[in-house]
Amino acid sequence: MKLEIHQLTKKFGTQRAISSLDLNLPEFHTLALIGPSGGGKSTLLRLIAGLEHPDSGWIAFDDAPIVFEETALLKHRRKLGIVFQSWNLFPHLTALENICLPLFRVHGLSREEAEARSFELLKRFELDKHAHKKPFALSGGQAQRVALIRAVAPQPKILLLDEPTSALDPLMSAEVLELVLELKVEGRHFILATHHLNFAKKIADWIVFIAEGNVLESGAPSQVFDHPRSTLAKQYMTKVLAY
């Protein structure tokens, strides 16, 4: 998959979250966005997801630029699977209903087809005994895995994960990351924002380090982790990997 970003800027008030960002990836499979909090990872991911409008610049997937206009964005979002940090699921629906809702209402499956596919996915990831539980009865890790399955179920072109484990304890994080790895083996495309550097190293074929609203490093994992060029990236890696 090809991703091009040109002179992208996003301001919140006077604060520049993304500042004239350029990125050119001729081919990637799994892209990990790393960097300090508040550096612009989430904002970039949300712009790519079509959940925010840029102030200037453009983004293109496989040479097709994203059109930032509501009808086009709706279509764009329907080709993606998006998972946030937390509170993804709808609390008034069961796990199964949460997965069914977009299949049935957005992607044109019949109710039976949607239920069959949702249940099959829950079963494959050993969550079938929780199918009829509402989110409040699930653990954080279970809920986040259901959210991942909901994002995967419509077979999106690409999955966008915004720090999917940052609200979870280590054991639950492991459960979720395991599922992400399994999805990777299946051959899904990912863009993932994460603080788990080791995980990023393991899963990604391209790493982008973002700080102060800009790309400071972009390259293969070995290059970015072992030979970072910018001092900011160097400091960040040393600090994070020290513990």
Binding site: L51, L74, R77, I82, P91, H92, R105, V106, A151
Partner: protein, 240 residues
Amino acid sequence: MFGQFLLASVMLVAIFFFLSYNQRSQWEAVWSYRELFLIGWCTTILLSAASLALSLCIGLALALLRRSTIPLCAFLAKAYIELIRGTPLLVQILFFYYVVAHRVGLENRYMAGVIILSLFEGAYIAEMIRSGIESISATQLESAKAIGLTRSQSYRFVILPQALRQITPPLAGQFASIIKDSSLLSIIGINEMTASAQQINSATYSTLEGFLPLAIGYLILTLPISLWSKKLEGKFQYET
């Protein structure tokens, strides 16, 4: 529930007997008018049910207008709500019935009564629905967007079902208010329960006797509703 009702009734009866201790009471005379009272009671129920349905529609429309992205709509809805909530219902009944209803040629006083009551309760219900919608966090709307739902689908499948759970308990409480507020409609000659009690009192030359069944008649309607509302509150609290 039954215990509370019993306690309230016993207290009422005790107060009445204390007040009418030295007077010759007219209970037989009042009893002979029981049919009139029952008709008034049914009228109260019908008026309140019709007003509940209409005020829910008005409330939902006002709440959505209030959240409209068009500033004029939002402003007008807010102005209406403040106007209604800032003036007494009695004043509104007199104004709408003697000024507005006559001007527009609305002669049926029952219909006028339902409309006036609904316009009043609708303003309160609008604020409940609005706060219900706003209590559903922005992240829910965003999640709905992220899975590809349109704006109207997001409201239909995600926001409103959750908001409705939140506002069912206060809404049930509001229904009890509608029942009580409908007593004021007696002022424009609607023969609901309060009006029948007044008629019975004047027809039997009694001062108090008609008001005891009146109070009990209202309690029979409002107590179960307020208890049901409390029960709902507990149930939905657990779920979210």
